[in-house]
């Protein structure tokens, strides 16, 4: 049986016990939703004592299914005020599974001053330790010091100064497998601020001496199916630009169509998009000793990660991804990939969401605080965030807070959270997802790009969004969505895998039902938290301003958005 670890920050106690039977066969986004709806009052203060911070592994964690060791982080979001699940790669999920732990719950607030770290040691013990010596450190220095203090393979989950300062854009960083760089981010929704409010600086998970063994319902059948699915993913990866290049390859798909955001979602084209695309990226990697085709977690067959170096060949950042490049790049009128890589590094180090931070910078440009394309100016503002100046604190409040404070009319947020790197006028189904996802406008919630791209009718857009939101929802309970995308022709096998691992039904409805139930639970949480239909809308300018690139406006009406989850 999987275990759970309950950390009560009020008195700094740690308890390990068996996970409830009804939660055993859940994982990821579904587990977060079911746990939160039962244990966290939806109307609580996100940074108050009633909110809980949840870390959990996936349904197939610890198994040999490729990418099954992703990790989800959840809680009531300090940024959106609704439910949040933010998932992340890296090594932590695999090591939690080796400890036999599926769920970590962090509750309460300390009554005394202090800062702590949760430590899973090699003997399998778990305890809270004093971490005051790490106060104010950012992620790279913190992780370096942790590695110096412990002589074992380990994974880290940590916050930088942004989380300690309760910036609403604060992320939780997870170390990459092999490199240990804290460059994988559970970025969205300000969960780093929730971790900071608990005064929990980091979670250290050492590789245990004795690896937990799960008691499969039918191990032989599980291995047979997972082998088949792993082969499909490995075969698919051979032709997958995410493997051969990285997620930056998406620039090629969005740049020519008005989907790539340009100048704060102006809807224009950015003629120099190729300068921040695959060609520049691959040339820089090969000239400077950088690498792509890296796995962020053990056993990944897609290997989309990378290590990017600066002009002198020194390590700069890793996991440099499409969203970061699109939003710090063309959306800020910047075409300097090295500058964008530096911004990515600064965000990972301080522990902030690159999507929120980059949109915030674009709003600063729109408001005249910076000139369009001023990459040095962006780096200076990120430095202000790092230094914690007064304006840095304002920037830490996220795109909407900054936009309102500067009097900006065009603020690209949904549910108070900045939108991901796709212009919703030119991929309207994605716009439906942005508007209606209980998570806000996340990049992983169900993009429809290339499905309902042409103006095929509003019903088609909503239909594509609905189907993809359900699919992404159950995928986020099981594995990395990049591997999942290669399994699509055999999705019913996922139900068989669940049955082989946990017993019970092997009907595909078990899997799709998981997606639907999770979405409905999340919506119920949000409703009880006070979110209304008005929160399921895009900002006005997407309805009112046609995209100069295509002439298209977002025209899905309110009724169509309201009925999308009438299953």
């Amino acid at each position: 049986m999987w275990s759970k670890v309950i950390v009560d920050m009020k008195n700094q106690t740690v308890k390990r016990e068996a996970l409830e039977v009804e939660l055993q066969d859940l994982g990821g986004r579904a587990l977060i939703a079911q746990y939160l709806i039962k244990n966290v009052p939806p109307d609580c203060d996100p940074l108050g004592s009633e909110n809980q911070l949840i870390f959990c592994t996936t349904i197939f964690a610890g198994s040999n299914l490729t990418t099954a060791n992703r990790m989800s982080v959840g809680g009531k979001s300090p940024l959106t005020g609704g439910i949040k699940e933010s998932n992340v790669g890296g090594y932590a999920g695999a090591l939690l599974a080796e400890h036999g732990v599926k769920l970590i719950v962090v509750k309460g607030l300390p009554e005394t001053k202090g800062l702590w770290q949760l430590h899973f040691d090699r003997e399998g013990n778990v305890s809270l330790e004093d971490a005051e010596g790490y106060e104010g450190l950012n992620n790279y220095e913190l992780v370096n010091r942790i590695h110096k203090s412990l002589d074992n393979r380990l994974a880290t989950i940590s916050i930088g100064a942004a989380g300690e300062r309760l910036y609403k854009c604060a992320s939780i960083q997870v170390s990459e497998f092999a490199s240990n760089h804290p460059s994988r981010a559970a970025a969205r929704g300000g969960l780093g601020a929730l971790m900071g409010s608990k005064r929990l600086k980091s979670i250290i998970i050492e590789k245990p001496l004795n690896k937990f063994t799960f008691n499969y319902n039918d191990k032989e059948r599980f291995n047979e199916i997972s082998k088949k699915l792993n082969r499909m993913v490995a075969e698919g990866a051979k032709n997958d630009p995410f493997h051969n290049i990285g997620t930056i390859a998406t620039i090629e798909a969005t740049g020519a169509n008005g989907v790539l955001p340009v100048d704060n979602f102006s809807g224009k084209l950015f003629p120099k998009y190729a300068e921040v695309g695959s060609g520049t990226f691959l040339t820089n990697l090969s000239n400077r000793g950088g690498r792509n085709k890296l796995a962020c977690q053990p056993g990944c067959a897609v290997q989309c990660s990378n290590e990017y170096r600066d002009k002198s060949g020194e390590y700069l950042t890793s996991g440099l991804e499409y969203e970061t490049i699109a939003l710090f790049g063309p959306n800020c009128h910047i075409s300097d990939l090295d500058a964008i890589a530096m911004m990515d590094r600064m965000c990972d180090d301080l522990g902030i969401d690159t999507i929120e931070a980059a949109n915030t910078m674009a709003v600063c440009m729109e408001s005249g605080v910076l000139n369009w394309g001023d990459s040095d100016g962006v780096i200076k503002l990120l430095k202000e965030m790092t230094d914690g100046t007064e304006f840095g604190y304002l920037l830490g409040g996220g795109c909407e807070a900054v936009g309102k404070s500067l009097g900006c009319k065009r603020i690209p947020t949904v549910k108070h959270q900045a939108i991901a790197g796709y212009d919703p006028r030119n991929t309207k189904g994605t716009g439906v997802t942005y508007a209606t996802s209980p998570m806000g406008a996340d990049h992983t919630a169900g993009l429809t790009m290339g499905r309902a791209f042409e103006d095929t009718g509003r019903t088609a857009q909503a239909y594509a969004s609905n189907k993809l939101q359900v699919a992404m929802c159950f995928a986020d309970c099981m594995m990395c969505i990049f591997a999942f995308s290669h399994m699509v022709p055999e999705l019913p096998l996922l139900a068989e895998l669940m049955a082989a691992m946990y017993g019970g039904s092997s009907e595909y409805a078990r899997v799709t039902g998981l997606g639907v139930k999770t979405l409905l639970t999340e919506r119920a949480f949000n409703k009880a938290a006070g979110l209304t239909k008005e929160d399921d809308r895009l900002p006005d300018f997407f309805y009112n301003e046609p995209s100069p690139a295509t002439g298209s406006r977002f025209d899905i009406n309110d009724h169509e958005l309201d009925v999308i989850f009438d299953f």
Partner: protein, 66 residues
């Protein structure tokens, strides 16, 4: 010559997008986005869309990362 992601294949007169993808050894699924010379082509049009020589086909997944 037709480019399919990072592979080059020979052009044959009358070739459709589906033919070129097959000749390259790549496959598509419901999660694949297909772009021909930068323009999205819906999956049900792959075997109805003829190619011209020197076309570039890009196959991407419908998801991205942050």
């Amino acid at each position: 010559m037709i480019q399919v992601n990072d592979k080059k294949i020979s052009y044959v007169a009358g070739m459709t997008v589906a033919d070129a993808i097959e000749a390259s050894g790549a496959t598509t699924s419901a999660m694949t986005i297909v772009l021909v010379n930068g323009k999205f082509i819906s999956l049900d049009m792959l075997n109805k869309t003829a190619l011209k020589d020197e076309a570039t086909i890009k196959l991407l997944m419908l998801i991205s990362g942050g």
